[in-house]
Symmetry: D2
Subunit: 106 residues, 4 copies
């Protein structure tokens, strides 16, 4: 399966419900933050989360991310690769290896 068919499924789901009217980039960015909070709630008091719940909440974050990508005309795979190229520069292997420090503290 590739992203194309998933994005098409999501688009059909939205179109059937006439929900595009609510999906401004701003509202989708809020929705991503809201769902990210629900995903984090799986880990609120300890690291031991319910696997099924994590999958559902992660799916919600991903779904709103794909909706936002679609709304702003971005290819999700391409923006990931573009950003990865930037991050590779910011965190060169020889400096970043085995460290969780931020780039300005490497």
């Amino acid at each position: 399966m590739n992203n194309l068919s998933v994005s098409a499924e999501i688009a059909a789901f939205v179109a059937e419900r006439d929900w595009a009217q609510f999906h401004s980039p701003e509202n989708l960015a809020k929705s991503i933050a809201i769902e990210a909070g629900e995903l984090l709630e799986c880990f609120q008091w300890n690291a031991d989360a319910n696997d099924a719940r994590v999958r559902e909440e992660l799916a919600d974050v991903l779904t709103y991310c794909l909706m936002l990508a679609d709304r702003i005309g971005a290819d999700p795979n391409q923006i990931i690769l573009d950003k990865l190229a930037v991050t590779r520069q910011k965190y060169p292997v020889e400096k970043a290896r085995g460290s969780s420090a931020k780039y300005d503290a490497l």
Copy 2:
């Protein structure tokens, strides 16, 4: 391009830096919430966001989402489709059409 090659690129990026040790599901869930906050910052005071910045921040959220999916052995496309099936039931077209109400208020 499909997700497979993107996930492989991300995995290589992480392996080169020996960062898997930091990528517990809990830390990745925190990272998704942190990046979702940065994406939201693009829309903090108005709906008019800088397109390039939105793409970068959205890419960061997506990247951590794919890292978490990989870490828990979930296929990102599959969990999206699984959740979409659940949401279709919760929001039947005839009730949800044109409404932004929550399912328990439809």
Copy 3:
């Protein structure tokens, strides 16, 4: 020191900059989520956070919370106590003692 003088200081800070025009409840709710993400970033990869940075980020969350309380005409102390009364009912001591379970799983 009591909240009154702090709220007055915040109000003066905002008035001097003519920033009330940006402080709709919605924008303040976004701002709280954004700053909560920055606070969380102090703990992104481990539990060992820089104390000075935690204080600054916590102050940012609190400041936007007080701005929102002011904007909607709520007394911050009163809404905390009101909610505490609700939570006491939801988590009775005899059931909740020593447990981090959610009320519907107690």
Copy 4:
């Protein structure tokens, strides 16, 4: 009413339930982000939020903020004022007046 009695009420609520064991700074930071997401949900699709719900969710964010302040030995009012002094420098009235731009773009 001042913060002292509210903080004392919160501390009693926690002690009765023996919950201090769960309240590491990291877990409280996660909790603040989770509750900030629930507050944001009041404004997910439009600016028109239910006032009672906003008050409850704002109270939850504030409560966890006061718990974190208590846990790290910080006076909430003092850290707000300390940060306000920093922000006054970053956003001088003559440059920041009437602008929502970030300090590095003023």
